[in-house]
């Protein structure tokens, strides 16, 4: 099989579990938390490292921002043998009780994106893989972290629904805030629908770096790095748990 067109990877280049951050620079940051890792490929915004953690082979491939870019990465990674996808990301918080730097594990996604609609009718639910979700929750517990576990919203137009948005973004947020949606980001609904239908596993762990209800609060560079490191470790541990349960 030739190398995949956008991610520039061939079968054997990645482990069964691949972490998929949005940020191009976060790929190396995540790989640095493996026990050992080697650079594999960089094409467009798709940067891949592969290595091992606690004896389990795993990879990281950055996707860039948004569902269109993520869909390409997931499709091509599945073509070269990946089965478990864990998004490690940031988001904007929607609930008063969610603080900057907290850990959020997504059970499902509000499908505010366009890509998943091209693939599947809107009625089809964007749901995290059950076993991967449990692995993330277990891994968080083992690090004495109490995550927020619930629904996140993924959508396309950052500048309509963020603290940097034009106009009254809270008016748009209202129905989501009132229906227990924890935060807003730009990738999860396509990840969840696509992996479910392709009979792979999808999961998302996030940390809020901005808050829609408290737009003047800024997370410090240091706190953000710490939170991303923590969610990375939880994701790595979840991958090991997943490896131990096999093909359930």
């Amino acid at each position: 099989m030739k190398k995949q067109h956008h991610i520039d990877l061939a079968p054997g280049d990645v482990g069964e579990t691949v972490f998929i951050p949005g940020d191009v620079h976060r790929a190396k940051f995540i790989a640095d938390h493996f026990d050992d890792a080697e650079f594999v490929a960089h094409k467009r915004q798709y940067v891949t490292y592969t290595g091992t953690y606690k004896g389990v082979r795993m990879s990281v491939t950055s996707t860039g921002i948004g569902c269109p870019a993520l869909a390409i990465a997931v499709e091509e990674l599945i073509n070269v043998g990946a089965k478990n996808f864990i998004r490690i990301g940031t988001c904007g918080a929607l609930q008063k009780y969610v603080k900057l730097g907290d850990i959020i594990i997504a059970t499902a996604g509000v499908r505010g994106d366009g890509t998943s609609r091209e693939y599947f009718p809107l009625e089809y639910p964007a749901v995290a893989d059950f076993h991967l979700l449990e692995a993330l929750v277990q891994a968080a517990g083992e690090r004495n972290v109490k995550p927020h576990v619930g629904i996140v919203r993924g959508h396309d137009a950052f500048y309509t629904e963020s603290i940097l948005a034009n106009g009254d973004y809270l008016a748009r947020d209202k129905e989501w805030i009132e229906s227990n949606v924890l935060s807003v980001e730009n990738e999860t609904p396509t990840l969840f629908t696509l992996t479910t239908v392709r009979k792979c596993r999808g999961g998302t762990i996030l940390t809020p770096v901005g808050h829609h209800l408290f737009p003047d609060e800024m997370i410090s560079e240091e706190a953000m790095k710490k939170a991303i490191a923590l969610e990375t470790m939880i994701a790595l541990d979840a991958a090991v748990i997943l490896d131990s349960i096999g093909n359930k």
Binding site: T107, A108, G109, V110, R111, G112, F120, P121, L122, E123, Y124, P125, A126, V127, F130, L133, E134, V137, V149, I151, R153, E175, E178, S179, N180, P189, T196, V197, K199
Partner: protein
């Protein structure tokens, strides 16, 4: 005007007040299935009967569990669920039957929904179609553990909820296979008429919900078998009651 203090009132359709139901309520569509629940409990008292909403509350191995039928379809289910939440239900588990659409499904298998296709309209009146009809993962785990404990084969996955039975069933008008093909190809396990409204409403209000269904053969196949065996329905309800016990043991009820 308005709904001040709705929680302290006798609920208009289910005819119950706070204290009438246990924290975990099993919700079959068919009022006739409540008696299966009653026969499996150590004790159960009839609490209310109004329209299609029949409620019994009892105990199993010391754990309180209730059963309230919702009637067929999402409109009465939405009413039943909303009123149950107002009188204190914390876990609502649909115990139902379905039309299986994957050939690996057989009578005696259980289907545990992780999410549901919102092919119905009621939930859309509550919130836009983008919002996910997802089962609560702790209810899913309780149902999985219940099936493992009882030795029941089970399948985890997405089910489809829709409104028009006579468009997607073996007795449908026209070629229902064409309508079903996209869902079959997406791996959807079965069709029924209540869950996605249950999941949506409960998620919106922070209440835990799940669904367990007794499967038959795929409706896309020809079989001489009766549509649903009473014994398999009994096993499914037993699993629901066991899941309610597990939720209680885990401090969730």
């Amino acid at each position: 005007m308005g709904s001040q203090d709705v929680h302290s009132k006798r609920q208009h359709h289910i005819d119950m007040v706070k204290g009438d139901v246990a924290p975990t309520v099993l919700t079959p569509g068919d009022p006739g299935r409540v008696e299966v629940f009653v026969s499996l409990m150590d004790d159960a008292k009839k609490v209310a009967e109004k329209r299609e909403y029949i409620t019994y509350t009892g105990t199993k191995d010391g754990v309180p569990v209730s059963c309230t039928s919702t009637g067929l379809g999402t409109p009465p289910t939405a009413i039943g669920v909303e009123e149950l939440i107002r009188i204190g239900a914390k876990n609502i588990i649909r115990i139902g039957t379905c039309g299986a659409i994957q050939d690996f499904l057989k009578p005696g298998h259980m289907i545990i929904a992780t999410g549901a296709v919102r092919g119905e309209h009621t939930s859309e009146e509550f919130i836009s179609m983008e919002y996910p009809a997802v089962a609560d993962y702790r209810v899913v785990r309780a149902l999985v553990d219940a099936c493992e404990k009882l030795g029941l084969p089970y399948h985890l996955g997405i089910i489809r909820t829709h409104d028009a039975f006579y468009l997607e069933s073996p007795w449908a008008l026209g070629d229902f296979r064409i309508r079903l093909k996209p869902w079959v190809d997406m791996g959807v396990l079965a069709l029924e008429n209540e869950s996605s409204t249950l999941f949506t409403l409960c998620s919106m209000q922070g209440i835990r919900a799940g669904t367990i269904l007794a499967s038959g053969y795929s409706i896309l196949e020809e079989h001489d078998e009766k549509i649903h065996h009473e014994e398999n329905i009994r096993k499914m309800v037993t699993a629901g009651i066991e899941a309610a016990k597990l939720l209680h043991e885990r401090g969730l009820a």
